[in-house]
């Protein structure tokens, strides 16, 4: 479960990125975050992955107040959430298998465990036959699947997807959304930030709309 309590983020006197945000996300939920550029979506995500701290308020992720996390605890906390970005953020010098496995190496998993988990996650995203390829040899959709595989290989409770379809054509975008829905079915909370009206209108999930740092609407099975 994720809980935002009176979250305010002020960068300086004039720029208030977020103003008194309050909402909860239940376990297993698929939440869509929409809003124009500069509304505060990216700030919200930065707070969730502890890249920045809120000026006021508390964020609870699986019962833990992440605002008061000590710097040395942050890496361990991040292993429990997955993030995917518009620009994939894959390492060009590592092949598909290595791009995913290094997220497990970081946590100190054994080589046998790594092999097992990477094979399993490649199966979920449908890239079993591409594991020897390097990112340059993949299409945009395939790259994003690798990024998703890397994000979920540690079996996180929460997967944050920041504009994951921003660089993809409509058909490929849908493939990615299907993968996210598949992961959601396995019990991971999905937080999808997107501009894509078509996708929001068709998946019919809970939609939170942010404008000027405030929540302007929060509806189940909503449209854009």
């Amino acid at each position: 479960m994720i809980k935002f309590e009176h979250i305010t983020k002020i960068y300086n006197k004039d720029i208030k990125a977020l103003k008194d945000l309050n909402f909860e996300v239940a376990d297993g939920e698929f939440l869509v975050l929409v809003g124009p550029s500069g509304a505060g979506k990216s700030t919200l995500i930065k707070l969730l992955i502890c890249e920045e701290k809120p000026t006021r308020g508390h964020i609870y992720i699986v019962g833990k107040d992440v605002v008061n996390l000590k710097a040395r605890e942050v890496p361990y906390f991040r292993r429990r959430i997955g993030v995917v970005f518009q620009d994939f953020k894959l390492l060009p010098k590592k092949n598909v298998y290595e791009n995913i496995s290094f997220a497990l190496e970081v946590v100190g998993a054994s080589s046998r465990q790594i092999k097992k988990k990477v094979e399993a996650v490649l199966d979920i995203v449908g890239l079993k036959d591409r594991k020897e390829n390097f990112p340059d040899e993949l299409s945009g959709g395939e790259k994003q699947r690798v990024a998703i595989a890397r994000a979920v290989v540690n079996r996180p409770k929460l997967l944050i997807a920041d504009e994951p379809t921003g660089n993809l054509d409509p058909k490929t975008s849908w493939d990615i959304i299907r993968v996210l829905e598949e992961i959601n079915k396995r019990g991971t909370i999905i937080l999808l930030a997107t501009h894509n009206k078509d996708i929001v209108d068709r998946i019919r999930k809970r939609v939170i709309k942010i404008k000027n740092g405030r929540i302007v609407s929060d509806k189940e099975r909503a449209k854009y």
Binding site: I49, C50, P75, Y76, R78, K93, V106, A109, S110, R150
Partner: protein
């Protein structure tokens, strides 16, 4: 344990996969070590040469024949106590004659002086430790009580003055250049390594994103830095050894000239230099590793946000 293995694996892998950048960094470090070493070696060599010339500077005091031996012995005792005097040797009339005979080749000249008829004066040879303070000795012999007993004090004031001027200037310039060079080198190496790390900032960002601890991110860079240091030190040493051999074998510097210089400087200097060239390799390895590791550590701090 697994992490330690992975740190080494990735250190080596990064070094290998970043091929061109690794080669460039290693070469910059090599040139730095090479130039600094050569410069330090030249300065050390020149300083040793200067020291050795300095130690050869003598003041010779010739006494009047009327001066009693006891007075000369007293003067020698007093001169020995001067802080600047390293060694004194008393040359009696007989010793002066022996020297004369051994130096002179003309038989008739040799026979001109005999031990019964010996005009050669007794003298005191004084070796000075610091030529900049020769005047201490000169002042002593200028005293009113001593002056009448002395026939002549011989010390080559001009040569000594010139030597003092050149050597002190040389030492200062040499030291200054070495310091400037080392500072420039540190900046160049630091910048090169910073660029190498800058080119991998995405990788660092992603590692942080998937929950790598700062030390897990940092250590492969340190391993990589160590590799830069080792390879650069080995290359620089090879460059010095083979470069030196080439200079002598090709005749650019005639080998005999080095031997002459070493002979002139004496066996201690020769030993010193062969020892120094062995330790130069060791120093290069240590300095090379230290420099690149410290630069890596400092450079990576910027990209480790937490």
């Amino acid at each position: 344990m697994i992490n330690l293995l992975r740190i080494f694996k990735y250190g080596f892998q990064n070094f290998w996969r970043n091929g061109l950048l690794s080669v460039a960094t290693t070469l910059v470090l090599t040139l730095t070590l090479f130039t600094v070493s050569v410069f330090v070696a030249i300065t050390l060599f020149a300083n040793a040469a200067v020291e050795s010339i300095n130690s050869r500077i003598d003041v010779v005091v010739y006494f009047n024949d009327e001066t009693p031996d006891s007075e000369i012995a007293r003067i020698e005792g007093e001169v020995k106590k001067l802080s600047n005097v390293r060694e004194t040797t008393y040359i009696s009339k007989d010793a002066a004659l022996d020297k004369w005979v051994s130096k002179t080749e003309d038989q008739s000249l040799k026979n001109a002086i005999t031990s019964e008829n010996n005009p050669l004066p007794r003298s005191l040879e004084i070796k000075i430790s610091d030529p900049e303070k020769t005047h201490e000795v000169a002042d002593y012999f200028n005293q009113e009580t001593i002056k009448p007993m002395v026939h002549r004090v011989r010390y080559n004031k001009e040569v000594i003055d010139k030597l003092v001027r050149y050597t002190s200037a040389f030492k200062k310039i040499g030291l200054g250049l070495v310091v400037i060079f080392i500072i420039i080198s540190i900046f160049v190496v630091f910048n090169t390594i910073r660029l190498a790390i800058y080119s991998r900032r995405d990788e660092i960002e992603i590692m942080q994103l998937v929950g790598a601890t700062p030390s897990y991110i940092r250590w492969p860079f340190v391993v990589e830095g160590t590799l830069f240091g080792i390879f650069a030190a080995l290359l620089a040493s090879l460059l010095i050894i083979f470069g030196g051999k080439y200079l002598f074998s090709s005749g650019i510097i005639p080998a005999t000239s080095l031997n002459e210089v070493l002979n002139f400087l004496g066996p201690e200097a020769a030993k010193y230099f062969s020892g120094a060239s062995a330790s130069i390799i060791l120093y290069q390895v240590i300095v090379g590793i230290l420099l690149s590791v410290v630069c890596s550590m400092v450079a990576i701090r910027r990209y480790l946000k937490i």
